[in-house]
């Protein structure tokens, strides 16, 4: 093995992002690293490429320990990476971006450059030629002299690959090279990666799009909760039980029971609380959401499921006024809320539990809860160090806090602890509690199971069921599709920015199309059906 | 390309446009009307303008009116260099006055020396005009630190004070004063027991004064500084309850000192020109008439009383005009020679006598010890 990763662990404060990661990669391999959101994939790349020094274990590359080396030393050894966030040199032209990639390798120093020694001109010529070659390779030769910032997202992704190649390293670590790309661009990307492979490059890439991975990867390493849970050829991975659980999640018996007894909602009688019509959202050139429609009746619990990058988070951003809506409408309780600010949504009774919890880490639990009430508090009360309405009926912050404590007793014990010191599950509970402080009509949760221990997931979902029974309308976005659908009334399956299927939760749970949205796009035709069946029956 | 040549062209036109009519005598001044010494420069310029008005009202010099062109040096040395070149070349001035800032003056000495234009500097550091053989074209009008230090030491001798403490700011003026004290005091048998420095912009000087207070053998404290710093020292001095007599430099004639320090200023003794105590002067004093006249006209023109620095600008201008009259020519070299022959000229700031070996002019008899009593400056007796 040219690269051996043995026993790597990475801790950030109390958080263990990676534990005991062990695998190896040989020259010329094309390896995909997959795993649900928050599994530790990017951290792994950061550790291998020298952006972080691991807290345990060792990495060897070409028989040399590299686990404490900074990135600029890695590169001459043959390792280069790209970033999820692209990190383009936006002020340079396309061609200059690629040239910039080769500067370190060309060893043109600062001092010779000042005097433009012949070596500088020589290397400049060489770099120009090399950059042209690589642009040709990734198919950007026609955009050579354009400013890099005007390229489409897909072209930018290709450009940073060309730039990485120009550094001369032959091991490429690509962090989500396909993120945000449309199918056509992804096709191009797949072609380019295949071409690089033919040129003898070794490629390790992190991806979410299973179809994409299935098409090009020769080997897949699956990471979940900081551990390698599978490492095999795509055919095997696709039917690996642990992988499927990691992606689709595991249903919890208790919530399943709860759902069955849940009273049917009164949705038929009233107008929808949330009504999204033909919503399209674009970031720059990327269409993140396309003509998506969704309705939510009062009292319903609706789940939106789909793989990473399907557009779930964008949908939620749009209903918090945080996404650039290109077309379509959002109605909240009959009002046109398409261009509202987050504050307007919150004031209108919508509460958001964002992905990754987004707590105020250096504030106490109780302060986090209080801030959940921010928009409902009068101007006077905001400026006073005590609540002037203490003891009054209704709208009283302290009473609401007690109510949240009743729902989540563990928060009461931790009331004065700083939110940043809570565990993942406790933090998620706090995020939900904070959202409840707004006494919302509509509670929106984004990936509440992410980074949460299974026992806590079960408890959180149980609480959500209880809230629904008390008449709260809930929109639940989940990667853990099974758990979500088990407590939901209805569900929507998103894929590549569109609603692929919608229906009652029971229907969806049985349906094959859901699994397809996650894993089904492995183009291993013929076997696909069997694989799917095997996948969905947990 | 266009903008460059355009700019150069525009500049050339500006430069070429300085054609002068011969019925005026152009004199350049380098007072700083902005920057950190603007409060000095503004007054100097006011005094100089008053003098010009007075001279022109009485018919000018041989029928020619004086045209004073000021260049604001912004208390900045690079600007002073630009300014002096502009005045000499574009405005074709025949003589220069000004720059209150010693630094600004230092930076232009070489230029006036080379150009052969006499300058009457208002900077107070004696190094400006010494050694005279290298500074042929440079004269000084203010009281120099050497002069007032000697006056103070005369006074100490009289009072039997032999041990003093010196507290000074870190400004150019104060540092120069400190150096002169350290040179002159031992020569004349005065022992500087302790010397302390404070920052010009410091908000509090009690640490320095506490150290001075600790030296019980000190008989008098000498404070050398300018601006608000010396007001803060006065306040801190009283606050610490130091009961030794407090002497200030000639910069204490700044009327703002009394305003800022209030009661704490009472009892400060300082040597300076007689402008503030003109009413108390005996009629025999040669400066009495000229000073009273100056104060009256200044008040009439500007609606408030003048400070020493205004008198300084005024003196420079009057003496320069006198030298031009005596030279009977606007030839800079002749003006220089005539200026060097100024003898016993009673000015507002001092009585001036210049010579080939003395370009700082001011004489000890122009200096009077004064004391602040009840918020007023009185002649010290």
């Amino acid at each position: 093995m040219t690269l051996t990763v043995s026993g790597i662990g990475m801790k950030f404060g109390g958080l263990e992002a990676l534990r005991d990661i062990t695998f190896g990669v040989d020259d010329g391999e094309l390896v995909a690293v997959i795993g649900p959101n928050g599994a530790g994939k990017s951290t792994l790349i950061n550790v291998i490429c020298g952006n972080y020094a691991p807290t345990a274990g060792a990495i060897e590359f070409r028989h040399r320990r590299i686990d404490a080396l900074p990135p600029h030393i890695m590169n001459p050894l043959g390792i280069v990476r790209t970033f999820q966030t692209i990190e383009l040199f936006r002020e340079l032209t396309v061609h200059e971006n690629v040239m910039a990639g080769g500067v370190a390798g060309a060893k043109v120093g600062v001092a010779p450059s000042l005097f433009r020694w012949p070596s500088v001109s020589r290397s400049e010529k060489a770099l120009t030629r090399m950059a042209d070659e690589y642009l040709d390779l990734v198919g950007l030769d026609r955009r050579r002299d354009d400013p890099a910032s005007v390229l489409s997202a897909g072209q930018q992704r290709l450009l940073i690959i060309a730039r990485a190649l120009a550094s001369g390293a032959d091991w490429l670590f690509l962090d989500e090279p396909g993120a945000g790309l449309n199918p056509v661009a992804k096709e191009r990307l797949a072609e380019v990666i295949a071409r690089l492979r033919d040129h003898g490059k070794t490629i390790v890439f992190v991806e979410h799009d299973m179809g994409f991975i299935g098409r090009i990867a020769e080997r897949i390493i699956v990471i979940d909760r900081g551990r390698v849970i599978a490492d095999d050829v795509p055919e095997k991975i696709r039917s690996d039980e642990r992988v499927i659980s990691a992606y689709l999640g595991v249903g919890s018996a208790s919530t399943r029971g709860g759902r069955k007894t849940a009273a049917p909602s009164k949705r038929k009688e009233t107008a929808p609380l949330l009504d999204i019509r033909d919503l399209t959202v674009r970031y720059g050139g990327i269409t993140a959401l396309q003509d998506t429609s969704l309705t939510l009746m009062p009292g319903e619990l609706v789940a939106v499921v789909g793989a990473n990058g399907a557009g779930k988070s964008t949908l939620l951003k749009a209903i918090m006024g945080e996404a650039p809506v290109a077309s379509g409408k959002i109605f909240l309780d009959g009002q046109d809320a398409t261009h509202w600010t987050p504050r307007q949504f919150v004031a209108a009774g919508l509460s958001m539990c964002p992905e990754g919890r987004q707590l105020f880490g250096s504030l106490s639990v109780i302060d986090n809860l209080k801030l959940g009430r921010y928009t409902q508090v009068g101007a006077l009360e905001r400026w006073l160090p005590w609540s002037p309405r203490a003891g009054h009926e209704g709208g009283d912050t302290d009473r609401l806090i007690e109510e949240v404590f009743d729902v989540f007793p563990l928060l009461r014990e931790r009331r004065d602890q700083l939110a940043g010191t809570l565990s993942g599950g406790e933090g998620q509970v706090l995020a939900i509690g904070r959202a409840l402080m707004n006494t919302p009509d509509l509670l929106v949760l984004d990936e509440p199971s992410l980074g949460v221990a299974p026992r806590m997931i079960a408890e959180i979902f149980e609480r959500l069921t209880a809230l629904r029974e008390r008449g709260m309308t809930i929109l639940l976005v989940e990667q853990n599709a099974r758990a979500a659908l088990e407590i939901a009334d209805r569900g929507y399956v998103l894929d590549s920015g569109r609603v692929m299927v919608e229906g009652s939760a029971v229907e969806l749970l049985e349906s094959e199309s859901m699994a397809e949205a996650y894993l089904g796009a492995f183009p291993v035709s013929g076997e696909t059906g069997a694989a799917r069946t095997g996948g969905t029956h947990a | 390309m266009k903008r460059w040549t355009g700019l150069i062209g525009a500049l050339a036109i500006v430069v070429g446009g300085g054609a002068q009519a011969q019925d005026t005598i152009k004199i350049g001044s380098l007072f700083e009307t902005s920057g950190f010494l603007a409060f000095l420069g503004n007054q100097g310029l006011e005094g100089a303008n008053l003098a010009v008005e007075e001279i022109n009202a009485s018919g000018g010099i041989d029928g020619k009116k004086i045209d004073l062109v000021n260049f604001n040096t912004e208390s900045d040395e690079t600007k002073a260099v630009i300014g002096v070149k502009k005045l000499i070349e574009r405005d074709k001035v025949v003589a220069l006055i000004g720059a209150m800032n010693s630094g600004s003056t230092f930076s232009i000495i070489d230029i006036v020396q080379r150009a052969g234009i006499p300058i009457v500097s208002n900077g107070a550091s004696r190094a400006i005009s010494t050694p005279v053989n290298e500074k042929k074209w440079v004269f000084q009008a203010p009281l120099t630190d050497v002069l007032v230090i000697n006056v103070l030491i005369d006074h100490f001798k009289e009072k039997g004070i032999g041990k003093i403490a010196l507290n000074n700011a870190d400004s150019g003026f104060a540092t120069s004063g400190m150096k002169q004290w350290q040179r002159i005091a031992p020569e004349r048998g005065i022992d500087i027991v302790i010397q302390q420095t404070y920052g010009n912009n410091d908000p509090d000087m009690t640490p320095q004064l506490t150290n001075i207070r600790a030296k019980s053998e000190v008989q008098a404290v000498v404070q050398w500084g300018t601006g608000k710093g010396q007001a803060i020292v006065a306040k801190n001095y009283r606050q610490l309850g130091i009961d030794k007599p407090l002497y200030y430099s000639h910069a204490a004639s700044d009327p703002n000192l009394i305003k800022l320090a209030g009661d704490a200023a009472n009892g400060i003794i300082f040597p300076t020109s007689k402008i503030a105590v003109v009413d108390e002067l005996p009629d025999s004093d040669p400066q009495k008439k000229v000073t009273a006249n100056f104060i009256e006209k200044f008040k009439a023109k500007y609606g408030r009383g003048p400070a020493t620095f205004a008198g300084n600008g005024y003196d420079s201008m009057i003496m320069l005009a006198d030298a031009i009259r005596r030279a009977g020519s606007t030839d800079p070299a002749k003006i220089r020679d005539a200026f060097e022959q100024t003898v016993d000229y009673p000015g507002v700031t001092s009585v001036y006598t210049y010579s080939a070996v003395d370009h700082y002019g001011a004489q000890p008899e122009g200096v009077a010890l004064q004391i602040i009593e009840d918020g007023k400056i009185r002649l010290y007796k």
């Binding site: 952006n51 900074p70 600029h72 590169n75 001459p76 280069v80 970033f83 383009l88 040199f89 002020e91 340079l92 040239m99 910039a100 080769g102 500067v103 370190a104 390798g105 043109v108 120093g109 600062v110 001092a111 450059s113 000042l114 005097f115 500088v120 770099l127 940073i160 730039r163 990485a164 550094s167 390293a169 | 266009k2 460059w4 040549t5 150069i8 500049l11 050339a12 430069v15 902005s34 603007a38 604001n72 040395e77 690079t78 260099v81 630009i82 070149k85 000499i88 070349e89 574009r90 010693s102 630094g103 230092f106 930076s107 080379r114 550091s125 190094a127 870190d170 150019g172 540092t175 120069s176």
Partner: protein, 317 residues
């Protein structure tokens, strides 16, 4: 294309017979050097500096001390001072480039203050606040050249400026220049491509400091007298104003801006302190509303206004 021609045209200035104009342009050219230095560091490499006056001052004091106290040849003094400032700034870079953003800005500011306080306090070497007079003018005895006058010193300043412009242009146009601009945008991308970012920043700082120091040395021998005041924090900020007006990443723009700032304050200073207000307003307006610099900002503004007349407002959104 146009700028080189304009720079060559400058050579006729001393023949226009105006010491004033010559002198003004000497000051502009001497100030252009540290401005170019700041531009390399701040504009191209994205590392803020509020302390460049210190390098300029160290160059001036170093060169002056060498010839005044040591009686050495001024040229050697300038070279030595430049070299030592370069070495020192390399160590400084090792320390300060652990910081970024506000902290880097304030660290450079603090460095500038400390150096200026040293100029005031090291009286034996610097003359303290009263400055160091008697700095000899430059000459080349072998060729019987002396640069006592503005007309002759002009060419020294001109050559220095041309050298700085050419070297700066070489640097930013060389492949390394691409990486410099990369650092300003994404340090981690640059690092992953095999560049030692800290080392590169330090090298740019060394160049930037050295060019400032060289200019300071020339300034000292030109004026013949130095004091701490021209090397105070105000000058550091003036350099930032200059590169802001010049557009941060444009050597010709910075030459123009240096001229502009020096010339614009000339008529304004007659007004007393209004010049400072105007100067500050320039800075605020450019930074807040014209992030591309004054020239491009004004150009863009004009174009927007013109196109705004044609298209209804908001149509471009």
């Amino acid at each position: 294309m146009k700028t080189p021609l304009a720079l060559v045209c400058l050579l006729i200035v001393p023949f226009l017979g105006s010491d004033y104009l010559t002198n003004l342009l000497i000051v502009v050219m001497l100030h252009a050097l540290p401005a170019i230095g700041v531009s390399l560091l701040m504009g191209y490499t994205g590392q803020i500096s509020l302390g460049h006056a210190a390098f300029y001052g160290l160059g001036a004091y170093g060169a002056a001390a060498f010839s005044v106290h040591g009686g050495g040849d001024p040229w050697i003094g300038i070279a030595l001072a430049t070299f030592l400032v370069g070495v020192m700034s390399s160590y400084l870079g090792w320390v300060i480039f652990r910081l970024r953003g506000h902290y880097l800005a304030v660290a450079t500011l603090g460095f500038g203050f400390i150096v200026n306080i040293a100029f005031v306090e090291l009286r034996d070497w610097t003359g303290g606040p009263n400055g160091l007079p008697g700095i000899p003018p430059l000459d080349i005895p072998i060729l019987d050249l002396s640069f006592h006058t503005d007309g002759t010193f002009f060419y020294v300043a001109w050559v220095a400026m041309i050298l700085a412009v050419v070297m700066a242009q070489n640097l930013v146009n060389a492949p390394v220049g691409l990486v410099m601009r990369g650092i300003a945008e994404s340090e981690r991308a640059v690092s992953s491509l095999g560049n030692d970012v800290t080392s590169l920043k330090r090298k740019i700082l060394v160049i930037s400091a050295a060019v400032s120091a060289a200019s300071g040395g020339l300034y000292a021998h030109y004026i013949g007298y130095i004091s701490p005041q021209p090397f105070a924090i105000d000058f550091s900020i003036k350099l930032v104003v200059i590169i802001a007006i010049g557009g941060f990443r444009s050597i010709p723009g910075i030459l123009f801006a240096t001229l502009f700032v020096t010339v614009i304050t000339e008529p304004l200073q007659e007004l007393g302190y209004y010049d400072v207000v105007v100067y500050g307003l320039f800075l605020v307006v450019i930074i807040a509303y014209m992030p591309q610099g004054l020239l491009q900002g004004a150009y863009g503004l004009g174009r927007r206004m013109l196109s705004g007349a044609r298209a209804p407002a908001g149509a471009g959104r």
